[in-house]
Each structure stands twice: as structure tokens, then as C-alpha cells.
Symmetry: D3
């Protein structure tokens, strides 16, 4: 506790943008179904889709002091990722902090806790994926850390990892794997396009994916 | 496990449409307050209102193989109803499956588990009532069954039963009772119309429903 | 049980309107972080912001008889506040009751239970903050009380207290403290305006709030 | 609502006793992994193991009137199974009802709601599997039904079905399948005995079950 | 925040002991089914039964500083009642604090949060009813208050109120009502004794309570 | 997915035993309040206290194939740690697997899912900390991995890390930090012993820890 790591490597900007375009579900599949945050992490408004580099915050329950510290560490294209050290749904973050974060080029907030001023944040189009919405404020009394590894909503995240988030949820891609993952993800997008056309035309997945034989082997009975 | 029932009787198409017009709350009252699915079943977007014949799916946790099998069983005017064999919030269903289901005339999905690609499904106006939204994918390794009776979100549903769903939740009407229920439901709708006018004019429910005497008998005290 | 308190003092109308303008998060801070209802109380549609005088209802689980009784006690500018005597998510309230409440000048409903007909309520712009949405109806068999003190979603509320509610949640302000609270809340709003400008210009909270020294004293290390 | 079914067929007494001896986990496997109640159904004290014929109760939330009606329907060797018509954790049942049920030969209670007087019930060795323990009492105002089919903790149960319950939870066996299930269950018990001996001696499941080849085929890598 | 109320009136010692003898379920009934804490408040070991005067603590999330302050306010026969100002399951209390509290004559702890060292507390026979068990420690940085009114697990509690707790849960009796409540509670205990004997002899509640006629009036049908 | 790491370094045996003696709450404090698993991880029977080296399992939902693979990797003094790849409460583990694990010297199981045969496991004194008890069985169809890093109940765990578990919950100590942590933990135990004596004698924490002045500075008021 009480450490701020300042020099954090980020992934390539172009790679990050391509990950955003693929979306969470595709990226998650592409990296072998790992890195997904818990399904209780929901966007405060629909339609946002971002990818950005994580600036991580480990914060005590009900204490948002470290958010102020973290904002100074933000670079353009980053996203804040806050994990409380024990479960908490207080509103750590509101429109003033969002104003400050936006001024540093921040792309949004992932928080395994609560957020407030959501009407303002929505108007500002500042995307947040959170566990809760709560007007309950926080104090500034106890140190936490910035840019240390955290477990956020069940996923292990290191500073500089890529966060991909949309209406389906939030996924983390390791910085070192971002390039490989985006290639697989884009390949999936391309492959799905053709399937979509065939399915829309009424062809069945049973036939497109050749499932009938294996289903029969496993013993599926039609009655 | 491992059974697909193929010949399922559906309710009368006209009856189904009239049930949709009545809405979930009214239909549920009309059939004596039974058949409601758990309140955690929420629509992925507001405003949808459907009634359709259930094609049921009993699926293992984290395995959506049977969805492909079920889609072949769909007829125009059906709705998919998926119950996992143990609680699971994985994303069993996304935009490719929706494309395929839509091509068969499917009216939507009721799933006591998770769904993904919700931005796409919203754009496609494919309505889903689910327990969760989750990008977590599933495998295709273990058999389940199609069109067998299931318990979905606390309600017992047989293939061919009528599902009514709107912003208030989801309700099942037994196929054999659909005609009787729709008549009672429409009678309620008519009766409510008159009450709405009187209440809007400032008359009190206490008087319209004649409650004052019974409240007094029970001992209600005004102080 | 079985008591209706009829003469309830309300707070000053002007004070109530000024509280609404401040919003829940600010009001909650201004009164020393007390009075917030649990974060599970969510609006049925986004964007509503109200302040109103509480008409409280203590109701048995699954029984909405007392809502009818409470509506008679409503004055223009009031809001209904319902707490069940044991946890319950049934749909106590729907569009007919809302029609009746609106006819009496009611500003909305706070309910630590379920609500139904939410599509209609949304169309009517009748705001509700609830624990759940549920089509499950209720009976009218057992007495409760109206305008007695209740604990609703974890907050102690007396009839005539001011309820402030918006997208961040719901907060109660004691009637006797409303005037003092609104003054502090408006002072906060004014103070935040200046900070917002400075933060938007890129100044850091660390500097504006003079945090650097205290962080250093506490032992924060930059590495 | 408001129906008491009086003539309910039970399964063979000997079969029921043999099911009890097998235990929940084995019986559940033996019938193809169906019929398990939700895992939140927990015993109020450890060590109980029963099998008995279900006398079902469908009860309104917070109303235990039908329990009194059901007790009259009990035969020696029965078990009460209560499902509320909407979720409720009130204490429907306590030591007086247990005294009455015991006098009729009742083997216990399965309740998807709350129970109270648990210290007394434990002393009486009256086993209960419940969703909650709660001192919150109930009223006697609204009818329910007895011996109608219910969905209890996610499982569909008909009067006369066999309930098997132990520290692992609760499982229902259809009356018509009880004999077939007990035979499969006993076969499993016998088969497990031999495996237990080999495993205790240090042999590996990988070898006993011949898993190594299939794991290799699927691509498992040892590094 | 930041207030310690020192002179708190307690209820009569004899009355408190008589309330303990009646138990939670009976006391709760006797006072008209009010004052029960939420059912998630569970004892850390079975069999404890206490009644004592509340010394209340309002504490910030994850901060147990005020527990030390409260212990100085304890008198022989008191019980600590802790409510966090926002939901928290951290372990606020362990064996050292229990040692200190016991030395002041404390009868136990009611905590709408977490507790730790439960093996030691069990050995010391120091009863605790809590929302959670958690080894997660707390800090001592932010003030709370002692002996102010709190909402604890959904119940409104003032310092000096009587807490009754056993395996069924926790109930609060207002200090001013304790004497009246204990009389009603003891009357219930006496009345139940006679019913227990009749029920044990096989008489039915339907007859003892004369329910048959009213059930018939309501329309109950035997088929 | 599909990897078994075979050569895992363990911590020093003596250090592990000393960690067990300190207990979870003390170890967690000693390492700066990190590494605690979520509070929902509860022991299946009270009184167990272990420390052991983690053999980790990443398993698909409802599939326990990898448990068999992991058992071959066990060394005397190890503990199994299972994290499902998406939330699941099925019973992955029962008495046969425990028999096999015990034959390899296994000290217990930490499982962020369900366990069954708990009566047998209790009799065998095989300690388990789990999220749930469930008789719901699992399949053996899909690969997972063994001895890869996992996030289990919110904590990041690598194979060979030391798991400490008792009635307060479960904590992980990094292998590389085990020696340093045990020294701090033992120092805490020693320091607490002296405080316990003073507290038992009636001295107050307020005085022992010298809190009075700082409380006064912060503004605590006695009234």
C-alpha cells in the first residue's frame, strides 16, 4: 500500500483502436476466453464502446483519495480501473473527477464499486462500467496504490493492459498479447460475416458447422 | 437428456396475439396469479412486448449446443426458452444465433442465463429477457434436450405453452388454458378502462372498490 | 399496525424545490452523509429528478391495501414511500394507482419492493424508484399503517420528511433540517462550479485541494 | 388457488427407505442429474438424512394458513414441501407446527422460504431444509392450495413424489420413477465401493477411468 | 458524525432477563411484529440466547475506530450494536476487542458487517450475530458516533433499547415498551404451552384454532 | 487452456506450518492486508485450520475433468485450489475424489464453486472451503488447466503459493514472501498476547493504543 508506479508501458495505439472495433465478446473469444470481468459490471448508459490502457487503482473501502493521485498518471488514451481492497459500493467517482480525467485524455472508468452523478456523466458521454450506482460519498484518509496489479471484478489487471468495454461487459487483454489477440479477433470478425449471410438466408448452424454427425454419435434422439 | 421432441402443438395464433395485447401483468392476474417467471428476468432493451409459442431448451451450464438444435425446430411465431440444468450466467446466445432464429420466424428469447452482443440484438430489435448480460462464451460438448418440460426462472414451461413478455417481465400460459385466459384478460382490460377514467377524475379507490367498511371492520384507526 | 396518521406537517415548498435542484449526491454530502437509501433502489426510467414530502406506508408482504388508504392522504407535492414489513419484491403498484396518485398531485413513488406496468408509468412520466420490477400482484387482506415512521431500504423516514431522488438514488432529509441542509447544499453547488472550471482547464485535484503534503506525510511513494 | 387434493398416491415404503440410504448426490446422478432443488436450500442442523413422500403446499407470501390445512393431509412417512407464490423469507413454520406434524408421522419440512424456532426444532430432531431462518411471523388471511404441483427452489414437485434430503441438499424423484431410480442408485453405491478402495490405495482416477488417452486427444499438454 | 452520547438510560434488568427467556420469535410476535433485524444476521455459533441493552455504534465502512470508543461506554449487561454508514462486510471485531468488551461486562455483539477470530470467539462463548465472517481488517482513520440512533440490518435502534437475540435472529424492543412487551410475550409462552400439549396429542390446528369455517367461507375446496 | 504445469516450487515446509499456527486473520494483517479470498468462502465444518501449497485448477463451469488431472500433481502437503472459468456452484468434488487426494497427502480443498458428500468429507476430516454445497454433478468433456495462475474468489493465486485457511476464511501468501510474512505474523501474535492480558484486566484500548488525543484532534465530542 502507498505506492505509485509512474513509468507504465502502454500497448500500441493502433492495436488498441482495432481491439475497440472488434468488441468485447469477440476479443474474449479470440484470446481463449480469459480476462473477462464479472457480469455485474454494467455500463451506466448504453452504446459506449472503448478500448484503452489501464491505469490501475487499489483503494480502501469508502476512500477515493487515490483517484486524485491516479489522475495525474493518466495519459491520453488511458482508462481508470479501480478495485477496492474489500467489497464496497460507495460512489467513488462523480462529475468533478470525470471533468478532471477528461482534461487528461481519459477514455472512461472501470470500477468494481459505485459511481455517482450518472446523469452528468451520461451528458458528458464519459463511459463508466461499474458494480453499482450510489450517491454515497467517500473519504480521503487512507493510502492505496496506483498502477500496481489488481484483481478487479474477478480479473487480474496490470497497469498498461488493454481494457476493452462495451454493452456486453469488460475484458482485459494483456499488453504483451494485444497484437496477437487483435489479429485473431479480426479474423473472427471476418469469418462471422460470411456465416451471418448464410444464417440470414435460412441455412442452419447444424449444417454450416457440420454438427449433425457428432450429435448423433453422442446419442441425441429425435422423437 | 439428449432428446428432441419434434411435434409440438401450438396455441391458436389469434389467441396468442390477443395475449400480447393484454400484457404480462394483466395476463398474470387473469390466470389466477400463476406462471410468472422470477423478477430477475429483465429485457435487454425497453419497450418490447411479445407473445409466442415456447420452444424449450434444457442445456448444460456453459454449453449452448442445443440452441443450434432448437433453431431447427422453430416455426414462425415461436420463441426460444432456455433453462440451464444448473445456475449459469454465461452468454449462450448472440447476434449470429439471433440472425439464424430470425430467419426461422422466431419472436425472441427467454433465457435463465446470460446473453451477449446486446448492442447488435438491440439494433436488430430481437427481444431477449435474460438473467444476465455476459460476454462469456460457451462450449458445444454435452447434450441437452429440446422441447421437454423445463423449469425456467422458477416457472414450469412445456413446449407449445404461450410466453407473454414485456417490460414487466415474463409469464407462461398453458397452451390448453390460453383461450380461457385471454378472455378473462380482455375482460380485465375493459374493466380497468372505466376505473382509470374515474381515478383520473380524482375519485378514490377506497370508494370505487368500497373498501372503507372492511377497513373499519379490520380495525383501521385514523388518528 | 392499522393506524393512519392524518395531520402531517410538510417542509416549506420553496425549500423542497431548491433541494430538488441540488440533486441527491450534493444533498447527501451537505447533510453529513446520512439519509441515503440502499443503492439497489433504482429509477424505472432515467432522467427523473424530484423532491417531495413523504407520505409513508408500512405494508405487509404481498399486500397493497394500504396504498389505497395512503392515496387519500396525499397532498399536492407529496411522494409515496412504501416499506414492506418483511422483504418482498411483488408488484405493489401499477398504472391505475399511479393515475389515482397523479390526480392527487403525487410526485412519484419510492418503494422497497416491486412495481409493475412500468411501460405505462414511463409513458405517464410517473417516476418510481424501486427495488424490483415485477408483474406479481398483491392482495388486499391485511392492515398496515400510513404516515408512521418506516425503515425503507435502510433509511429511517418519517411522514413529512423530504425525499430527494434522481438517477443517483434516493435520499431523505429530515423535515426539521431541510432549510439548513438546502443552504449547505447550494453552497456546495456554488463551490463546485469554480472547481469544475479549473479541473476542466487541466489543473489537478492534488493541487487544488492541496493534497500533496498530506500524502507525503502518510508515506505515499512514487517509484 | 384454494384447492386441497386429498387422495394422493405415495411410492412404495421400502423403495423410499432405500432411496434415503443412497443419499442425495447418488440419487441425483442415478436419475440423470435432474430434480435437484437450488443449492440455497440448507439444513438447519447437520447430519439429517431422510426420504419421504411429498405433501405439497402452495402458499401466498407471508401467509402460512395452508400449512395447517396440509397437516391434516399428512400420512405417516410424508414430508411437507412448501413453495411460496412469490419469493419470501418469512418464518412460516415453528415448533408448534412441528409438534403437530410430528404427531401425524411427518418426517420433516422442505421450504423455499424461512423457518423459525430452529433451536427447538433441532432439539426435537425435526429436520428442515430451508432458504432462510427468520423469526418474522406470517398471517392467516389468504388461501393457497395443498397437494397441487409446485415449483419449489427451482424443481417441479407433485404430491406423492419422493423427496430425498441430506447435508448435500434436496432432490425430488418422480413417484413413477422411484423404483427404477433406486435400482440405479444402489448400483452406483456398489460400484463406488470398489473404486474407493483402489483410490485409497493410491491408484489414480486417470488410470481407473482410462482418461489419459482422451485427454491427449483433446490436446492436453504437460509442460 | 463524531459524537459520543454518554448518559444512556437502560431498561430494567429483570425485564431484560425475562425477555431473553421468551426468545426472539415470541418477543417479535408480542410487540406486533416489528423490530426484527434482517434475516441475514446469523449467529457465529448455535445455541446462544441473550437480551441486553444496546450501546450503538455508527461506523464508516472498513473503519473500527469507534468500537474502541464504544467499549468505554459499556456497562455490565450491555451489548454492542454496530451499523456501518455504507454496506461493508469487513471484519470489524475480533478476539482482542471481545476480551476487552467481556472485561466490561458485555453480553455480545450485533454487527451489520463482518467479524473475525470466530474460532476464538466461539471458544470464549462470546456471542455474535453478524452479516458475514471475514478476516479482512479495518483501519482507524475516520470518526463515527456512539450511542446515536442507527438503522442496523433494517431496524431502527436507539441506545438503551433492548436487543433480544437467539438462533432465530435478532429483535429490538424499545426501552420504553420493554415492560409491556415482556408481559405480552410471557402470556404467549403460557398460551403456547397448552396448545403444544394438544397438538402433540394429535389434535389439529384446524380445530384448535377453529379455522374450518373461515376456510370454507373463503372458498377452499377439497377434491 | 489445456496445460498442466508439472514442476512447481513449493515454500519451505517449516514456514508453512508456522503460517498455519498464526491463522488467517493474523497472516492477512502481517502481509499488509492483501491476498484474502472473498468472504463467501466458508468451511464445510468448523474448527479446521490448515496451511499448504497450492495446486491450482482452472476448470470450465460444470466440468471437473481437471480435478483428476490435478490429483496426479499433488505432493504431500499440498492443497487443491479450484477456480471455475465462469461462476458456477455445481458440486465438482465429493468423497471419492477426497479419498484419492488424501492418498496423495492432500491437506484439503479451496473451491470457488460447490462441493458435495459433505457429510462424508466431514467424517473423513477432509477440510473444504467452498462457495456452495451442491449435489449437482459435473461432466468430463472440456479441458481446463492445472498449475496455471488463477483468480479464485477474488484473489490471484499461483501454483506453489501458500494457502492459509481457518474458520475466518482463506488467505494466499506468495511463495516468495512466505518467510517474511511468517516472521511478521509471529511478531503480531507475540504482541497481541501482552495486549490480551491488559485488556482482560479491564484496561481500555483507548489508553493502550493512545487514541484519546487523536480522537480529540479529529473532533470527537462527548455529550
Amino acid at each position: 500500500m502507498g505506492v505509485v508506479v509512474q513509468n507504465v508501458e502502454r500497448a500500441d495505439r493502433g492495436v488498441i483502436e482495432r481491439l475497440a472495433a472488434c468488441g468485447v465478446a469477440t476479443v474474449h473469444e479470440a484470446q481463449g476466453r480469459k480476462g473477462l470481468l464479472a457480469a455485474y459490471m454494467r455500463p451506466i448508459f448504453p452504446g459506449a464502446r472503448v478500448a484503452a490502457s489501464a491505469v490501475t487503482i487499489s483503494a480502501p473501502p469508502g476512500d477515493n483519495w487515490m483517484v486524485h493521485v491516479a489522475i495525474e498518471q493518466l495519459q491520453d488514451g488511458d482508462i481508470l480501473v479501480l478495485a477496492p481492497t474489500s467489497p464496497c459500493e460507495d460512489g467513488y467517482f462523480g462529475d468533478l473527477l470525470a471533468t478532471s480525467a477528461l482534461a487528461r485524455g481519459c477514455k472512461g472508468l472501470i470500477i468494481d464499486a459505485g459511481v455517482r452523478d450518472v446523469a452528468d456523466l451520461t451528458e458528458m458521454k464519459f463511459p463508466v462500467w461499474s458494480k453499482a450506482v450510489s450517491a454515497q460519498g467517500t473519504v480521503k484518509e487512507t493510502l492505496g496504490s496506483v498502477n500496481v496489479p489488481v484483481v478487479c471484478a474477478g480479473a487480474y489487471i496490470e497497469a498498461g493492459d488493454v481494457i476493452v468495454a462495451d454493452d456486453d461487459g469488460v475484458c482485459v487483454v494483456k499488453r504483451s498479447e494485444a497484437e496477437a489477440v487483435v489479429q485473431k479477433a479480426e479474423a473472427r470478425v471476418a469469418a462471422e460475416e460470411e456465416k451471418r449471410t448464410r444464417l440470414a438466408a435460412g441455412e442452419l448452424g447444424l449444417d454450416i458447422y457440420g454438427m449433425r454427425e457428432r450429435l448423433k454419435e453422442k446419442g441425441l434422439k429425435y422423437v
